[in-house]
Amino acid sequence: MANTTLSGQIALPSAQIGSTPKRKPIKASRIALYAALIVLTAIWLLPFFSALLTSVRTQDEISLNGFWQPDLSALTLDNFPAAWEQARVSRYLGNSFIVTIPSLIATLFLSSLSAFALARYRFKLALPLYFMFVAGTMLPFQILLLPVFKMMNDLRLYNTYGALIIIHTAFQMGFCTMVLRNFMKTIPNDIVEAARVDGCSDFRIYWQIIMPLTLPAMAALATLEFTWIFNDYLWALILIQSEALKPITAGLAGLRGQFTTNWPLITAGSLIGVLPTLFVFAFLQRYFIQGLTLGSGK
């Protein structure tokens, strides 16, 4: 999982550098570059193409004609409603939202509190605590699996939405705290001092001054975290057992066992399952990219 972006700040765009062609570019090398790029891009798009084409066919037709000679008159959209209802993709998607939205809100809120404390106060534990959060973002999940499984069982939270919400909130806090703390550190102190002189309480400084200024980082972080939590598979595998509670990732993984030889149905289900993150990506692309680079700007 790529959720290891490291200690961070938002990268501020500055002037573009690179080979601005002042001299006449050499034609042949330019063409070769384009050709190579087009081939590589085509390879990169092939999996998407394979999935899209498969989702509108039937397994029998694919077996009969092979992948590359689809019978265009036999194309069908039936796989999508079948995945939505028979394969319970609608249910799984709903579960994913039920888990993702509260986790996202909780982890962002809690992280903003700890980030504020670590960024805006000077106290002995500030740095050790900060690095505890940073280290936490790089842990292998496996070190937490068994105790968390046991604790959720003891608290009777095993096989509930609550279990997933709690663990996502806790685990994502490390990364969010790190990013928000570094962002809050860049806010000039004058603003805060002015407010303090006016008799502003610490909580109001957090809520009414720092938080509004942190919104750009929050937006980028929220976009990224939405994708990460929504796409989690491991915790769903460990903490959810009931078919009715599975999020889309665990649900799709289960589909394959159930409809082993119906690739069109499985692919159609996967494509539906991708829609929410695709939606986020299409409309919040800038934030998503910014989020991914949040960690590396230093």
Binding site: T4, I17, A51, F131, M138, P140, Q142, L146, A170, T267
Partner: protein, 328 residues
């Protein structure tokens, strides 16, 4: 980018008075730290304890007087009670992780940097090309695994269709080539399973590295690059002697991420080869031992070993970051 001078919001002390502890930051930290300590710190320590037990996940957890290094002995072949070899499945998983690290440190990094360099020049259509490379990042590993399993499907999948089709086309032109009846088994083939999974993993990782390098390139000081150009540096010299050294901080982050992600790999292996075996990595080996074989104690010891390996990267990285932070 320099962080602005560390900010102090503590109230200035009145002269002569001893400084009192300001409890306000701890108040803000109270709830987040409680959550973090309960669900991250405590479980981590608890895993260490479990790794010394023979817990099966169902019966009560063994008490402290029943602890032993037995799990580690079985896993690593410690010289405790005579020489025994390490667990063969562990060796397989460990080697696969090493392969994963090597591939991640070389392939997506080079491709990602190359693509970032290309897209950073004003090439036409860069925006659309770029999207094809970072689109895989929004997919879950389950979806990536599913899509690629179908690509690797031995009979009708896209890959073998191409291979078999190409071999037949070649055979019709060159009579000395025998056309292939069937392509490789890919995921079903012990020798190809890991490479097949890595194909899917690299497909995703390239876009990530590219994004990181693109951000780094945007932050480079254009005057340095201009100066080198004025001095008549060739494009390769410009890259080799100016741009790449300036990207060093990004490269560090990319390398650290590559190793950490390799050690964390689980989902793809679990989805694409659910039965495990030849393609297992440590994370899956741990999961299988604990949840399929009910050997929670043994599983915990695998997790501890995996964590220890990760620390080889985490600790130096933290050390450097701490020193940087103290410089401000």
């Amino acid at each position: 980018m320099a962080t602005l001078a560390a900010t102090v919001t503590q109230r200035p002390d009145r002269a002569g008075k001893r400084q009192k502890i300001n409890w306000t930051p701890y108040l803000f930290l109270l709830v987040p730290l409680a959550v973090y300590a309960t669900w991250i710190i405590f479980p981590m320590l608890f895993s260490f304890y479990l790794s010394l037990t023979s817990w099966d996940g169902v019966s009560p957890i063994p008490s402290p007087d029943q602890l032993s290094l037995g799990n580690y002995d079985r896993l690593l072949g410690l010289p405790l009670n005579g020489a025994n070899p390490p667990d063969r499945d562990f060796v397989t998983a460990f080697n696969n992780n090493v392969t994963w690290v090597i591939v991640f440190l070389t392939v997506p990094t080079t491709l990602g940097l190359g693509l970032a360099m290309i897209f950073n020049s004003n090439i036409r259509g860069a925006r659309w090309f770029k999207i094809s490379f970072y689109a895989p990042l929004i997919l879950s590993f389950v979806v990536i695994g599913t899509i690629w399993m179908w690509i690797y499907e031995p009979r009708a999948g896209i890959l073998n269709s191409v291979i078999v089709g190409a071999s037949q086309a070649l055979a019709s032109v060159f009579p000395f080539i025998t056309p292939l009846e069937r392509g490789p088994g890919w995921l079903a083939d012990r020798n190809l399973a890991l490479a097949s999974i890595l194909g899917a993993a690299v497909w995703r990782q390239v876009g990530y590295v590219m994004i990181l390098y693109l951000a780094g390139l945007k932050n480079l000081d254009p005057s340095l690059v201009e100066a080198a150009k004025v001095d008549g540096a060739s494009p390769w010299q410009l890259f080799r002697k100016v741009i790449f050294p300036l990207l060093a901080p990004i490269t560090t982050v990319v390398l650290v991420i590559s190793v950490i992600d390799s050690l964390r790999s689980f989902d793809l292996v679990q989805v694409m080869t659910p039965l495990g075996g030849a393609s297992n990595v440590l994370a899956n080996f741990m999961y299988i031992e604990a949840f399929n074989n009910y050997q929670f104690g043994y599983g915990a010891s695998i997790a501890v070993v995996l964590l220890s390996i990760s620390l080889v990267i985490i600790i130096p990285y933290l050390y450097v970051s701490v020193r940087k932070e103290l410089d401000y």
